[in-house]
Amino acid sequence: MTDVAMTDSAGLNVNLIDDGNIPLDAQISCQPGELLALVGPSGSGKSTILRTIAGLNKPRQGVIHCNGDIWLDTDKGVDVSTRQRHVGMVFQNYALFPHLNARENIIEGLGHVASSERSGRAKELLTLVHLSGLGERKPAALSGGQQQRVAVARALARDPKVLLLDEPFSAVDQATRQRLYRELVELRQQFGMPMVLVTHDLDEATMLADRLCILRHGRTLQSGPPFDVLAKPANKEVARLVDQKNIFQGTVIGHEADMGITTISWGDFTLSASYQPDFQVGKVVDWVIPTSHVGVVFDDENVVSGVVSGIVRLGDMVTVSVTIKEASSHPLFMSVPVLEAKQRNLKAGETISVSLISEGIHLMTPLA
C-alpha cells in the first residue's frame, strides 16, 4: 500500500486498491466544504468508492481518513463500522424507511441527540429541505423530489463528517432536478463537511462540483476543477469520457514563448495551439479542441477547409461535422447557433473554411 501521510490532513482522503469484481485503484481527496463529483460510465467503480467510504464495501487494501480519524487502514487492521463512521448517505433510490413517516425517518438519524431535542431538530431539518408541514407523510405519499429531500434531511440529521450522494438526482424529472440542484447549492452554503457526489451526468457534475474526478474501470484518471478537466483532459481516454468530440493526432513543430503558442502540424495544416512547452519538438501528440472553439471562419487563425458531412440540431445549437480529408479520417465537429447556421445556409456537401481558436487546442501525451 502506498504510504499516504494523510492522518492529520483535514477533509476526506481515500486511497483504495482492490482486484475484486469491480477493480479499484483510486485516490481521491475532498476538502471541508468542497463538493467533489466522481464521474464515469457504468461500472467505473464510482458507487463502489462511495460505498467503501461509508463502510458498506470492503476493499482488499485501502486507507480512508476523515478529519484526522482513521476509518479504514487495512495494513493496520483498522475498519470502523458504518454506524460509527458518521457518514450521511443519500442513496440512489433514497432507501427511506417505508413504514415510518418523513419526520420519523429523520429522527432515526438523530440517535446522537438527546431524545428531548430530536423532535425539534427533525422539524428544523424538514424546514431546511422545504418540507415543513409534510412530516407526517409516509414516503409513498411523497413525490420523488420530496422523497429525495427527506433522504437529504435524514443524511444531514446525523451531523455527518462527510456527505455522500449516490446519483441523488437520477430518479426525478427534469424540472424537479433543476430545483433540487438549486437547493443543494443553497444547502452547501450552510454545511462545511466534504461532500462527494456520484453521477454519470457530466453536465450535472460540472454545474455542481468544485472538482471532478474522472474514473474508469475503478481507476482515477484525472481530478481537477470542472473546466480544467473538460478543456485540458490528461489524455485521450479522459477526453473521450468528458465527451470531447474533436480528438486528433499531430506533431509538435515548435514553441513560441513570446507569442504564447505551440505550433503543431495536422496533416497538411499547421496549427497554433495553446503554449505547452513540455512537449518536445518532433513529438507525436494527441490534441483536443472543444466544439465551442471551432467556428465558421471569423479571422485567419488556424483556418482549415473541408466538406460539411452532417448537420444535427440539438436545441438552440447545431452540431456540424466537417470532413477534412487532408488531415484526418475523423470529422471535425463544431457547434454554431441555429440562427448562424441558417444565415450561412450551411448544407451537407458544401465546402467551407473553419477556424480553430488556438487557445482551445490542448496537447496530450498519447496513451501507451
Binding site: 458504518t82 454506524r83 442513496f91 424507511f97 413504514h99 432515526e108 440517535g111 446522537h112
Partner: protein, 222 residues
C-alpha cells in the same frame, strides 16, 4: 365436546408458536441475508417436514426420544421423565415439524427488505438492536404474523406425528384431532362433528387473520 383435548391442543399450539417465534426470526433472517456453502442443503433439510409423511418423522422422533437413545437418556436424567408419550415430547416434535411453516414465511419477509434500507439504517448510526426493532421487524411483520398463524393452525390440526410421539393419553397427549379420531372409532359422530366444526372455525379465523393483516400492512405503507 372434549374440552380437555381442545385445551391441550390450544396449549400445544401456543407453546409451539411461542418457541418458533424467536427460532423463525433468527433462522429466517440468517437464511435471507447470508450466503454460505451448503445453504441449499440446510434449506432443504428445514423444508423436509413439508413432504415427509408425519408418521415417518414421528417414528424417528419416537426413536430419538426413547430411553435407549442418548438424547432420550439425557432428557430423562435432566427432567426425570421420558420425552416419548409426554406433553414435552409433543412440543419438541411439534416445533420440529413446524420449522418450515415458521421459517419460510419469515425468510421471505426478511428477503423483502431491501439491502439499501438496511444500509441506510447503518448509515443513520442505528444500533443492531434498534435496526431489528425499528426497521426489520416492522417491515417483516406481515410475514412473521402469517408464519405464527400458520404454525398455530397447523399444530392444532396435526394428527400423525402427535399420535406417533404422544400416543393417546387423555389430559397429557390427547389433542382434539386425536379425540375426533377416537370418537369416530366408537361411532360417536355427533361429538366428532362438533369438534370438527370447532377446528374448522379456528382454522378459518386463523387464515382470515393472515389475509386481513397482509392487506392492513399493505395500506399502512401508503
Amino acid at each position: 365436546m372434549n374440552w380437555m383435548a381442545l385445551e391441550l391442543s390450544l396449549k400445544l399450539a401456543a407453546w409451539t408458536t411461542v418457541l418458533l417465534l424467536p427460532i423463525g426470526i433468527l433462522v429466517g433472517r440468517f437464511l435471507a441475508w447470508r450466503t454460505f456453502r451448503g445453504k441449499v442443503f440446510v434449506e432443504a433439510g428445514l423444508a423436509l417436514p413439508l413432504v415427509l409423511p408425519p408418521t415417518v418423522l414421528g417414528f424417528y422422533m419416537l426413536v430419538a426420544f426413547s430411553a435407549t437413545s442418548p438424547f432420550g437418556q439425557f432428557y430423562q436424567s435432566l427432567v426425570g421423565h421420558s420425552l416419548a408419550f409426554s406433553f414435552d415430547g409433543l412440543v419438541v416434535a411439534s416445533v420440529i415439524f413446524n420449522l418450515p411453516f415458521a421459517i419460510q414465511p419469515m425468510q421471505r419477509a426478511f428477503e423483502g427488505i431491501s439491502a439499501e434500507v438496511r444500509e441506510a439504517a447503518a448509515c443513520c448510526g442505528m444500533s443492531r438492536a434498534r435496526i431489528l426493532w425499528r426497521i426489520e421487524l416492522p417491515l417483516a411483520w406481515p410475514g412473521i404474523l402469517s408464519a405464527l398463524v400458520l404454525t398455530f393452525a397447523h399444530t392444532i390440526g396435526e394428527f400423525g406425528i402427535v399420535l406417533m410421539v404422544g400416543g393417546n393419553i387423555p389430559g397429557e397427549t390427547q389433542t382434539i384431532a386425536i379425540a375426533i379420531y377416537d370418537r369416530v372409532q366408537i361411532f360417536d359422530n355427533a361429538s366428532a362433528g362438533l369438534m370438527s366444526v370447532v377446528l374448522l372455525l379456528i382454522s378459518m379465523v386463523a387464515i382470515s387473520a393472515t389475509y386481513l393483516s397482509a392487506s392492513f400492512v399493505g395500506r399502512r405503507h401508503d
